[in-house]
């Protein structure tokens, strides 16, 4: 029995289908991500869950209660938006207290809970500021605090980090996860960023063209893509056509062969390698790219171009372009996808 159950949810705008027959279940306290390219229907699905958009078919249940036709005010769902949606005419405190004011809580209780949540999102000292006086990261903390203070049953996060720059995004992401764990809050996170999805989620639902194409833990979705789309979307997978796979590895496949760049090893001539990995292939380095702790090589072998990620262990690890080397593909990590 799931805490949140979405059953056969469908949404159409005229002739075009935003999503169709969505079925998913969330356990209480779980952090779940809807991951997919823009236009895949993930944000609309989130809005249906919040009650801001009505679905055409299907049901949504939370804790056994059917909320499909309930107004957003009555759902007990909190949401954080990509562009913050803070009330510009209110200070930080007034923004956060808005939900409690709507619930007609006493002034003393409001003050106490606002103070707590301000401490939780580390905004102390900014209480009297207006949104336009805050940085992007601080604004999103206010938005988070505003959603948390009313103690929602479910927290929805609609690409809350995409408007922020990289460093703040990483910080805030960890903080959101930390707060979510501490409060044991059932959370649905929407993103198009696979790295974000992998680092944050208990489970990931990958969406494409209005359908859920794969669900599973971050680990499973990343290492066992169910389709060519997921393999392409999850990152830098090498995807070999059936003919390329046959030429390179002597395997006969119907679909594409997905190989993760970090499961290919570079061996310099004469180096020992473990026999169960398969025979080494001769290759030439065509390009290299330093990504900090990883060196990303573009190598060519038997007319097939492969991306190989190599851990940047020592300063002299970077092999020059044009070097002849051998690559070993870990056959246990290969996967056929359709």
């Amino acid at each position: 029995m799931f805490y949140v159950e979405i059953d056969g949810l469908t949404k159409r705008y005229g002739a075009s289908t935003v999503f169709e027959d969505i079925r998913l279940g969330l356990k209480q306290g779980e952090f779940v991500t809807l991951l997919g390219p823009s236009g895949c229907g993930k944000s609309t699905l989130l809005r249906c869950l919040a009650g801001l958009t009505t679905a055409d078919q299907g049901r949504i249940r939370v804790d056994g209660q059917d909320i499909t036709t309930l107004a957003p005010q009555q759902r007990g769902i909190g949401m954080v938006f990509q562009n913050y949606a803070l009330f510009p005419n209110m200070t930080v405190v007034e923004n956060i207290a808005f939900g409690l004011k709507m619930q007609k809580r006493s002034a003393a209780e409001t003050a106490k809970r606002v103070a707590e949540v301000i401490r939780l999102v580390e905004l102390a000292g900014k209480e009297a500021r207006y949104p336009h006086e805050l940085s992007g990261g601080q604004r999103q903390r206010v938005a988070l605090a505003r959603a948390l203070v009313v103690e929602p049953r479910i927290l929805l996060l609609d690409e809350p980090l995409s408007a922020l720059d990289a460093r703040i995004r990483r910080n805030l992401r960890e903080q959101i996860r930390d707060i979510q764990r501490r409060l044991g809050l059932t959370t649905v996170f929407v993103t198009h960023d696979q790295e974000e999805a992998l680092t944050l989620s208990d489970r990931i639902f990958v969406m494409n063209q209005g359908r859920i194409v794969q669900e599973g833990t971050a680990e499973a979705v990343y290492t066992q893509p169910a389709s060519e789309f997921v393999a392409r979307f999850m990152g830098s997978y090498n995807l070999l056509s059936p003919t390329e796979a046959g030429r390179l590895l002597g395997v006969e496949l119907k679909g594409h062969l997905a190989i993760r760049p970090e499961s290919i090893r570079l061996c310099e001539p004469g180096e020992q390698y473990s026999a169960d990995l398969g025979a080494p292939l001769r290759a030439i380095i065509r390009q290299h790219q330093l990504l900090g702790n990883i060196i990303r090589y573009q190598v060519e072998t038997e007319g097939v171009s492969l991306q190989v990620d190599h851990l940047n262990r020592a300063a002299d690890d970077l092999l020059p372009v044009g070097s002849e080397i051998a690559v070993v593909i870990d056959r246990r990590q290969m996967r056929e996808v359709h």
Partner: protein, 259 residues
């Protein structure tokens, strides 16, 4: 350097061009006699004293203020919700609204008045000659200023996001509008209110043709003074001008200190 001096010259000349008529009127209103001499002969505040004690002036001024305030109140009550509904629910209607608000501009007030005279002289709504007809006519004058200012203000606001956020925090549509949207419209609303106010205070054609002496406004009164003393008329024009000036200054002060 030369370009700099040129620019300064342009600014000075333009300022002169704009202030000379006002200064001349001011001087004329303060002078005892200014006919055969280059400079006025003797300064006096008598014209102002006479004006401000004139009962007809007091009545006209209060009529004007009442009609302006009434028109602006009516316009605000209709246009603010209308602009919100258009921007929030029917953004496609904005195009039609833009055509609609141009219609009063495209019709000269003289033509419009003739039409209104025909319509409201008798029949179920005999409004001609009463101040009520001006409320309606002035609404059409205010509509373009106020609608445009509010629509631009609303467009800059992300109203959909703000309304969504307010809904999820438990607010109903009216509460969300009053607490979240309306306070953020103050700037556009204030600007359009003061602009419209000075415009309406100076309106003559509708006031003269539709109501005239039966409920005399400031401009109709001013027009009737045409044959009288120029000093007296100048005092009236200056009083009117200073009033609008103070109001505009207050408006800018108000909208700045609150942001």
């Amino acid at each position: 350097m030369r370009a700099d001096r040129f620019h300064r010259c342009v600014v000075v000349l333009l300022s002169l061009l704009l202030t000379v008529p006002i200064m001349a009127t001011l001087l004329y209103s303060l002078s005892q006699r200014w006919e055969a001499t280059i400079l006025p002969e003797g300064l006096t505040l008598a014209w102002y004293g006479q004006l401000w004690h004139d009962e007809r002036f007091q009545a006209a001024f209060s009529h004007s203020l009442l009609i302006c305030a009434g028109s602006l109140l009516l316009s605000t009550l209709i246009i603010v919700p209308a602009a919100f509904v258009v921007c929030y629910r029917f953004p496609r209607l904005d195009r039609w609204m833009n055509v609609l608000i141009l219609i009063p501009f495209s019709m000269p007030p003289v033509v419009a008045s003739v039409g209104l005279l025909e319509l409201f002289a008798a029949g179920p709504l005999p409004l001609v000659g009463t101040p009520w007809i001006l409320l309606g006519s002035y609404f059409t004058i205010v509509l373009p200023f106020m609608y445009r200012a509010l629509a631009d203000n609303l467009r800059a606001l992300d109203i959909v996001g703000l309304m969504d956020a307010a809904y999820l925090l438990g607010a109903s549509t009216p509460r969300a509008f009053l607490l979240v949207i309306l306070p953020n419209l103050r700037k556009g609303l204030m600007a359009s209110l003061f602009l419209s106010f000075s415009f309406l205070l100076g309106e003559f054609v509708f006031a003269n043709m539709l109501v005239g002496a039966r409920y005399e406004t400031l401009q109709v009164y001013l027009y009737s003074l045409n044959a009288g003393s120029g000093h007296f008329t100048s005092a009236l024009v200056m009083s009117y001008f200073l009033f609008t000036l103070v109001l505009t200054w207050l408006a800018t002060r108000l909208s700045r200190s609150n942001k």
